[in-house]
């Protein structure tokens, strides 16, 4: 019996997916559970495994196409089996497919055929020009000698003056970042508020709890964990910040799921601490350590990077004083935290040296206005400077 492969729905919020790469070609044998196709959602790219064994008979949607979830994308049938339109059986459409697939960053699948003249190919090889970066001007877009020569002329200007350059195809996680950040920066009217916050109490709290947390769960407690707790607490008081815009409606999200930006060798990923408001500091620490480990190993599941309602980006350990972050859509705001610096401030009527850090909030002006965001950021300040309030 022929099986129709559909665009899987990999998360509650997933409405469509883009086919990045077919890992099997038409006519290839494929076993159930074998990686079949690389799919990109708006958050992640992953390998989708074949739901059946057989021969990949027909690819219905090709690389680069974006289709709604549950759209048939391919047909798998037994060898020699006649496949009539009516015979095709759609698998039960699960609301959500189990997610064994890990974050896939680089794939070794065969590259797409490039239509190029033999001479153009030879010149490109010799001059190390990536043909996939060239737009062909020949019949049906075939790359001809002139195209390669023009690319050389344009790309590698006077070789003595300018070092030759290497091109990195915009794909995988890089492509997701590029797409989402562009979308956000172009479509979301950002505005930024900054406050310098006294970290004395917060650092003291960290010092007090560190050993105890380590003893209890054998995990490190970081300042970031405390900040997650602070944000979760502040968000409870400001439900409008914990929201997203969809069409002409603002959705206030009941769950408080805080994403924490983690730098990777080749990009950035934002795993999400779900129900951060309901978690103890210890639980936050454990969860975040685990997510960080998975992120470094490229093992985060789609669930673990989806559903965030607010993002924290802490660049303190990278030696940055202050920065304005780009909102991680569809969230409403992102908090950028800089490093803690000992500096003289006016404190209790005199100049004292205190550990200070800049907190910058980027917000979507369609949802919130300056006063609302200011009130939220001031509440963050209040909590950071007075951690016992977290207990209230």
């Amino acid at each position: 019996m022929a099986t129709t492969v559909i665009m899987p729905k990999l998360g509650l919020t997933m409405t469509e997916g883009t086919i990045e790469k077919w890992l099997k070609q038409e006519g290839d044998r494929v076993e159930k559970g074998e990686p079949l196709v690389e799919i990109i959602t708006e958050k992640i790219n992953f390998q989708y495994e074949s739901p059946a064994s057989g021969v990949l008979r027909k690819i219905l949607h090709h690389e680069g196409e974006t289709v709604p979830v549950t759209t048939p994308i391919a047909i798998i049938a037994e060898e020699g089996e006649a496949v009539a339109e009516g015979e095709m059986v759609k698998p039960e459409v699960p609301v959500e497919v189990p997610l064994p697939a890990a974050v896939q960053r680089e794939s070794k699948a065969p590259s797409k055929r490039i239509f190029v003249s033999p001479i153009a190919r030879k010149i490109a090889q010799e001059k190390r020009i990536d043909l996939s970066t060239i737009q062909g001007s020949g019949p049906m877009g075939r790359i001809i000698k002139m195209d390669v020569l023009k690319a050389i002329e344009k790309g590698v200007a006077p070789p003595v003056r300018k070092p030759s350059e290497k091109t990195i195809p915009l794909k995988g996680i890089r492509r997701i970042i590029a797409k989402r950040m562009t979308e956000s920066f172009q479509n979301v009217p950002h505005f930024y508020l900054s406050l310098e916050i006294d970290m004395t109490a917060c650092l003291a709290l960290h010092e007090q709890l560190r050993e105890e947390v380590e003893r209890r769960v054998r995990q490190r407690l970081t300042l970031t964990d405390i900040l997650v707790k602070v944000i979760a607490s502040a968000l409870k008081e400001h439900p409008i910040i914990n929201s997203r815009i969809e069409g002409d409606q603002i959705h206030l999200i009941e769950e408080i799921n805080i994403g924490v930006a983690i730098a990777l060798e080749d990009g950035l990923i934002v795993p999400v601490i779900r129900h951060a408001d309901q978690k103890s500091l210890t639980e936050i620490a454990v969860t975040l350590r685990e997510l960080t480990q998975k992120a470094k190993e490229g093992k985060l599941s789609l669930e673990e990077v989806g559903g965030g309602t607010f993002t924290l980006s802490n660049m303190g350990m990278l030696g940055i004083d202050k920065f304005n972050a780009i909102i991680n859509p569809p969230e409403c705001s992102i908090l950028g935290v800089g490093r803690t610096v000992q500096k003289p401030v006016f404190y209790g009527g005199e100049i004292k040296v205190r550990p200070m850090a800049w907190f910058s909030l980027s917000s979507d002006h369609r949802i919130v206005d300056g006063a609302t965001a200011a009130s939220f950021l001031n509440d963050i300040k209040k909590l950071v400077e007075n951690p016992p309030y977290l207990l209230l």
């Binding site: 003249s117 033999p118 001479i119 030879k122 010149i123 010799e126 020949g138 075939r142 001809i144 000698k145």
Partner: protein, 470 residues
Amino acid sequence: MQNEPKIFDLIIIGSGPGGYLPAILSAQKGLSVAVVEKRDLGGTCLNRGCIPTKALLHEAFLWDAFDQSGLIRNKDEVASHFKKALEKKNAAVQQVVSGLRNLLSRDRITVIQGEACFLNPRTIGVKRDGKAVETLEADRILIASGAVPKDENPVKRDGRYVIGSDDVLTMTDLPANLAIIGGGRRGLEFTTFFNAYGVPITLIEKENRILPKMEREISIRCKGLLAKRKVKVLTEASVVSIDFIEREMPVDLTVVQKGKKETSSFQKVLVVGERRGNIEDLDIEKASVSLKDGFIFVDSHMKTSSAGIYAAGDVVGKAFYAHKAFHEGKIAVENMLGKESEADYRMIPKCLYGYPEAASIGLTEEEATKEYGEVQIGKFPFMACGRSIATGNLEGMVKIISEKKYGEILGVHILGPHATELIHLGTMAMRHEIGVEEIKEMIFAHPTFSESFLEAALDTYGEAIHMMKG
């Protein structure tokens, strides 16, 4: 009194290849098109050039082949065979012309018989028998009026003793002997034609080799072949005087060759020399179109110096091939319709339809060496080709010139059987950047003349199979 001007999207002057092809192309794109023809529909190509000469050559080759095979017992039959050849030629012309008429009417193209002349850059007057009969107006005008022979002193055509190529087509008898002035490809086609029927020929060429526009090796080999067939070839030769005396051989030609003067008598002299643009009766000055060396000057988009006026085919000079006219006509239409395409003269095959055939595409060895420094040559003689041996077509060769680094083909030169057909292997390879190494990977049917193309590609790297090395 004249009627109101008729308005078209495009007026084309001339219905030869440079006129009818753009007419069909633009009509198919939805333009309303008028074609004005003053003589025969289809122009030189269909009526007095490509088609009729090929029909005649074919008949002459047949006679020659039968003669060579010893199948002709009575050589006096040549006169009647020649007459039949003319009839067959007429039938072929009639067929292509009526075919063209159908194509033009299929695409609702208005064909107007008469002489076109410019009244201004947008208006054409049409005359019949010297009387203005119609006025046409269009925003775009394409001049494709062809070329006409140019007389050069002291030899002037009179249609009787000194004839042009048009006169050959209406000849009724073979001449007793013939001097042909002009050793280019058209001169050689007529040489082949009359030689096949056994007419003694003296071929006079002013350059230092016949076929001066083709690969030198082709010129040299061709001269040898003509000598073998008892054609007297005089190069670097020019006619200094011509005298007419009433007798069987009425024309005395005095030719100077390398300082040596010699007078010979001929029954007829055929002039196939220089040509000039056929623009005399067009009132071209009213169109503000610039000329250059007797031809209409165009840029690479086939635009003349006057906005909205284009030209294509023999009337712009450069070379006189119907396929060059087709190409230019197509480029002209594309530019009229807003696509900025340019004519590519390197990709126009040069063809000789004589015996043997010859064809070239791209650069000659000389030109390639000049442009690229060192080049590589692959060559294969038909003598070593199975199909040639089987059919007795042993003369000639395939020569492929390629550049060294990538094996890109720069020129292909073929002398020998079906050269004008085989050349398209070269055209395709060059146009689409298929190098010598890719040719090597192709499977060629055996036995074919085309295999020589493969062997020439192999020979580029000293890998030819059916050939002694060294």
